[in-house]
């Protein structure tokens, strides 16, 4: 019987013996229960499969759209001071993020810049999930006063000035923009808002269409970015194949960390699946930067998402209403969403301190110490059981200093290349 057949047989055996302790034996260096093997298998990068298509963006798989998107992504002219591009904070040589606690554009942002790889797999973007597609996400920073500080009429005019041919190749004829005010937007300064309100509806819609298409082309470019396989993936593969020698790709300390990740540390409860995230929102009591004005996270993100004219159900989306399941069945009345933030992927996590939604922690050890302490939330309610708390269902996370070192070592095995498809 080959090694794969042994794994399958072992799993089948568990199915019929209902919970009997089974371990994979043979030539493996490290033994895992069949349940653990199933979990390891589910965490392999290849389980993510091809990037799911975004029905709200009809252009995302076109190479000409991606080429335009790449140019827009790197173009600092698309900002109020001519110095801020998407790439300023999402830097190709820094995992498409910036390594800073807060994004730094025209001003200083309020949250940590997120990397772009894996975005196509997430139903919601940003730490608070206020966007439901990569193209809609890409629009937000352009008009954020702390980021590009631009406005959509000026942006549309800049696209017309510098990218007319490539834009029209992808999206068809550009509208006439010359007679419009230079600066107008429904989200800008009072003057910009007044100018926007004064524009006829059809002009506003034409500008919005160009603005949305900027996002759609940037999303087509971002779609070419993905995570590559890490040492952990090779270890999981070797374990499934019954290849003990292959398991040596992880040190004994890293394997101890992996065992903690799956069990005592409870990390895998939220950091699950091939991208090590459940794509959901949780309040884990991460301390706010300003305790007097704590970030409301998902609770505000939900409101913004529902009001967003660029969401899946909006007129600039290419999806049919029934393709917007996440929005149709959005959990809007869950009190647990107050001060909850999106579970970030742990792929390449060791390469991008600082951590949490506002860069609260500078090292992985500090992050792990936070979970070991499980402090009360300043706003909302932490899902974590507190040390010593007698809770009917939940268990507190208990980690020794040595456990924290082992877990941090394991997290380093999740680092792989950033792949840019051509």
């Amino acid at each position: 019987m080959n090694s794969l057949a042994r794994v399958i047989a072992a799993l089948a055996a568990v199915g019929v013996t209902a919970g009997a302790a089974q371990t994979l034996t043979g030539s493996l260096r490290d033994r895992w229960s069949s349940q653990e093997v199933a979990t390891l298998a589910s965490m392999r990068l290849k389980e993510a499969g091809p990037r799911p298509a975004d029905p709200s963006n009809a252009y995302e798989q076109r190479t000409d759209a991606a080429a335009l998107g790449r140019a827009l992504f790197n173009d600092a002219r698309l900002s109020s001071n001519g110095q801020v591009a998407c790439a300023s904070c999402h830097s190709a040589d820094k995992q498409f993020q910036d390594g800073k606690p807060f994004g730094q554009g025209i001003g200083t942002g309020k949250r940590r810049t997120m990397p772009l790889m894996g975005a196509a797999h997430s139903p919601f973007l940003f730490w608070d999930g206020r966007k439901d597609s990569a193209w809609s996400q890409a629009l937000g920073p352009f008009e954020d006063a702390a980021e590009h500080g631009a406005n959509r009429v000026r942006l549309a005019k800049l696209v017309q000035e510098h990218y007319k041919v490539s834009y029209e190749t992808v999206f068809g004829p550009m509208p006439e923009l010359g007679r419009l005010p230079d600066d107008a937007s429904p989200t800008g300064t009072p003057a910009e808002q007044a100018a926007w309100t004064a524009m006829p509806e059809r002009d506003r819609e034409a500008v919005n269409r160009v603005f949305a298409n900027m996002g759609k082309s940037i999303a087509a470019f971002e779609r070419t970015l993905s995570y590559g396989e890490s040492r952990f993936d090779r270890y999981a593969e070797a374990t499934l194949a019954g290849d003990g020698q292959g398991q040596e790709v992880l040190s004994q300390q890293e394997v101890r960390g992996l065992r903690l990740f799956l069990a005592k540390g409870q990390c895998v409860t939220c950091h699950n699946g091939p991208l090590l995230t459940d794509h959901a929102f949780h309040n884990t009591g991460v301390p706010p930067i300003d305790r007097t004005r704590p970030d409301r996270g998902r609770a505000d993100g939900l409101r913004k998402l529902l009001q967003d004219e660029f969401n899946c159900l909006g007129r600039y989306s290419d999806a049919r209403a029934e393709q917007c399941g996440e929005l149709q069945f959005l959990a809007t009345n869950d009190p647990g969403q107050l001060a909850a933030f999106r579970t970030p992927s742990l792929r390449n996590v060791a390469e991008r301190p600082p951590y949490m939604h506002a860069g609260q922690f500078t090292s992985l050890e500090q992050v792990l110490e936070h979970y070991a302490k499980s402090p009360q939330a300043v706003l909302g309610h932490s899902e974590l059981a507190r040390p010593g708390e007698k809770h009917a269902e939940r268990q507190a996370i208990r980690l020794s200093a040595a456990d924290i070192q082992d877990l941090a070592a394991f997290l380093g095995t999740l680092t792989g290349p950033v792949v840019q498809a051509r």
Binding site: A18, Q35, L240, A263, T269, N272
Partner: protein
């Protein structure tokens, strides 16, 4: 009342339990057909024939009958749930979107964001009155693929 056939995958995972922190209670009632809390209705949840992937939106069916087994038409449902061991709710807000035939209703927008023990709670408003019911389901990993 028709006998409900629950796919083997869902029945089997209920026996398996989970590694580490998330082990559901040993005596967890995972039956998907039961009387409502006050005994007003008999309620059954019918999962999809093929177990959905983690984070995949999918649909269930709800079968509602009076205590004597007669199918109940025209009921309304409020859906709630979550993971008791993790202290969070459902990642989506599922809804009963329409009544199919014979006291059978379509439950759309279901999604499980992780493996483990999930509760699915229905608050029922029907001709016989209001009642509620809580189901437990244990979501496991799909079969290991090489």
């Amino acid at each position: 009342m028709t006998t409900l056939r629950i796919p083997v995958a869902f029945a089997a995972v209920a026996l398996l339990g989970l590694a580490g922190c998330g082990t559901p209670p040993k005596d967890l009632d995972v039956s998907l057909e039961k009387p409502s809390a006050a005994g007003v209705y008999r309620v059954a949840l019918v999962p999809p024939a093929q177990a959905p992937a983690i984070n995949q939106l999918h649909s269930w069916k709800v079968k509602l009958a009076a205590a004597d087994g007669t199918p109940v038409h025209g009921a309304r449902f409020a859906v709630d749930g979550g993971m008791p061991q993790h202290g969070h709710g459902l990642p989506t807000q599922p809804r009963v979107t329409r009544e199919l035939a014979d006291g059978s209703y379509q439950l759309d927008g279901m999604k499980f964001s992780m493996t483990g023990w999930w509760e699915v709670k229905l608050a029922i408003e029907g001709p016989q009155g209001a009642d509620k019911v809580t189901f437990n389901t244990v979501v496991d990993h799909p079969r290991v693929r090489p």
